[in-house]
Symmetry: C2
């Protein structure tokens, strides 16, 4: 191992991972992420990370894997934004459990040897910025070589009072089905990036931003959890239709969804003009990567939700018969797709 590199060498602009090796990279990363935390017994840089947990809280653990050219494309997103977004995706899962507070993240990175050290640095900067914005820290992880594509594996830890957890299981017939925001924007943003790379108008700028910069909806999660205003809760990372299906399956109920009530942004309506209705609805229902919250609640809670400053959209109702039925302006809508699936051949 070349441990005698001068700092000047390390700052060289086009230094690649293969030039410095894993150990030096790890040292570089450790310097970046190391800081004193009162509850940390052994910080980054040992065989494992050791932390003292609060005694009265439950530990919440979520994991997401992001694979280059499947989940992200470096032609559309820079390393800083990628690092930031990777954390948002995981934070959304904590929000979806009832607003669990993030405490720390463990990061696994597989990267080709020809990646620029500067790029890895930017990736970490993005993740650290997310940690700063959402009050958690990076506890270390593993960095290894890959043959070609980058893989980012994040395990995020949070804490929550056990009795404030909201799962996918509690929906009951008669409950309303609500969402925190628009659907279809992120999927449209991705299609714009894939087709032309840059935005040609304000609508496209907005849609691209929605794709590249999702934010977890802790605003909703915190109120739903604190005031026990949801019978079930999920985020919409796999698309609205998939989220609805997961709640229905886990709660063993059915649903009637009124498609005209699904909130759609003005930008998406503009962009979809001239495109087919089926295409439009596939973006809205199966788009994926939305990170809005989908939840169910008792009808009498609707006014309370509004009193707490939330403006959720009622998109349907929970039914007894165990199927999900989609209606568009009163007519049954046949929808064959069902969310974004990673493995579909």
């Amino acid at each position: 191992m070349k441990i005698n590199f001068s700092p000047g060498y390390l700052r060289r602009q086009n230094l690649r991972l293969g030039d410095i090796g894993e150990f030096l990279l790890v040292e570089k990363i450790l310097k970046k992420i190391r800081k004193e935390q009162p509850e940390v017994i052994v910080g980054p840089g040992d065989d494992a990370f050791v932390v003292k947990m609060s005694t009265d809280k439950a530990l919440v653990v979520t994991k997401d894997l992001l694979v280059e050219n499947i989940h992200f494309d470096l032609r559309y997103i820079n390393f800083f934004s990628l690092g930031y977004k990777s954390m948002m995706v995981n934070l959304s899962d904590l929000a979806a459990m009832g607003g669990a507070r993030p405490s720390f993240a463990v990061v696994g990175l597989a990267m080709p040897v020809d990646i620029l050290v500067k790029s890895v640095d930017n990736l970490y900067s993005g993740m650290l910025k997310a940690g700063k914005d959402y009050a958690f820290y990076i506890a270390g992880g593993d960095t290894v070589a890959s043959k070609k594509d980058i893989v980012i594996s994040i395990t995020l830890f949070g804490e929550i009072d056990s009795d404030r957890v909201i799962t996918r299981k509690g929906a009951e017939p008669g409950d309303l089905i609500l969402t925190s925001g628009y659907f279809g924007d992120s999927a449209a943003g991705l299609r714009i990036l894939q087709k032309q790379k840059n935005a040609r108008n304000k609508s496209e700028t907005y849609l691209i931003k929605k794709h590249l910069s999702p934010r977890p909806r802790f605003d909703y999660a915190d109120i739903l959890s604190k005031h026990r205003l949801a019978t079930s809760l999920i985020d919409s990372s796999d698309g609205l239709a998939a989220s609805l299906k997961f709640i229905a399956q886990n709660s063993q109920v059915g649903m009637n969804i009124f498609m005209e009530k699904i909130p759609v942004s003005r930008a998406l309506r503009n962009w979809a003009r001239g495109r087919s209705a089926d295409y439009f609805w596939s973006l809205v229902l199966a788009g994926g990567e939305e990170y809005e919250l989908v939840f169910t609640t008792k009808p009498e809670n609707l006014s309370r939700l509004k009193r707490f400053g939330l403006r959720p959209y009622v998109i349907g109702e929970v039914s007894r018969q165990k199927t999900i039925r989609y209606f568009l302006n009163g007519r049954k809508y046949k929808y064959s797709g069902c969310g974004f699936e990673h493995f579909r051949g």
Copy 2:
């Protein structure tokens, strides 16, 4: 999503991931790993996993990423063994913190769509067998598509009394340096597999087994931790020389290593006959994937270690001057390599 597949279809021998999609695979995996655990508040299959932690213990977290054709080669190892070994690698990190008890694992898998569903099943069976053997469970994770190679990302959680943690930091001048077992076997086993695939004699069979079936040394870790018999502790996943360097760096000490005292198996000696001394020593010092423990202790503890039934090998002593010096039969040995590094170009 095709949710109407008959079980018969799912059992079809050559069914591939692309045929059933991610959601069905996840359902299949969930069925396999789901079981009731008293401390689990929300089990696998929700947005995140929620668990009640013991109040008086510290949480230990370790993460390892295994990338196909970098860390494993499916020509040499089957999916069941790969699953099992992946867990052993992580368990070794828990052992290296002072014998932390594993509690649960979160598994991330990136796989190409043409992988056989049966293979994924076998991979999970191997991981579950490890969980059975070492008393932990799989709490879920994330399964996504990859372009080509398989990536296995495991985050393993354990518990330990805070005051029983042993880090890389406590080595002091005058301490002895010890190891729990042989070095070089795993690296030799890998070279045999790469060259000829099958063993031609007993020595080769043994070396291959050492490479494919490592075991964490909880026998050592537990005693070292319980009776406070180590001033520093690390596992040797990156090779002996790297482990020594990590202890020396973190403890801010130097070391004198007496190479003739490093334990080497009879099988490795047999196999290395006719090969150069440099090659032999590079396997022993920089081989990697050994998962033996390397630790330091006060000289007066040596007899206590033996009284507890351990037979460690003393390979050197901690010195005040901050360099690591290697001696072979009293003569200084120049060793240029330093452990296995993933990114070396």
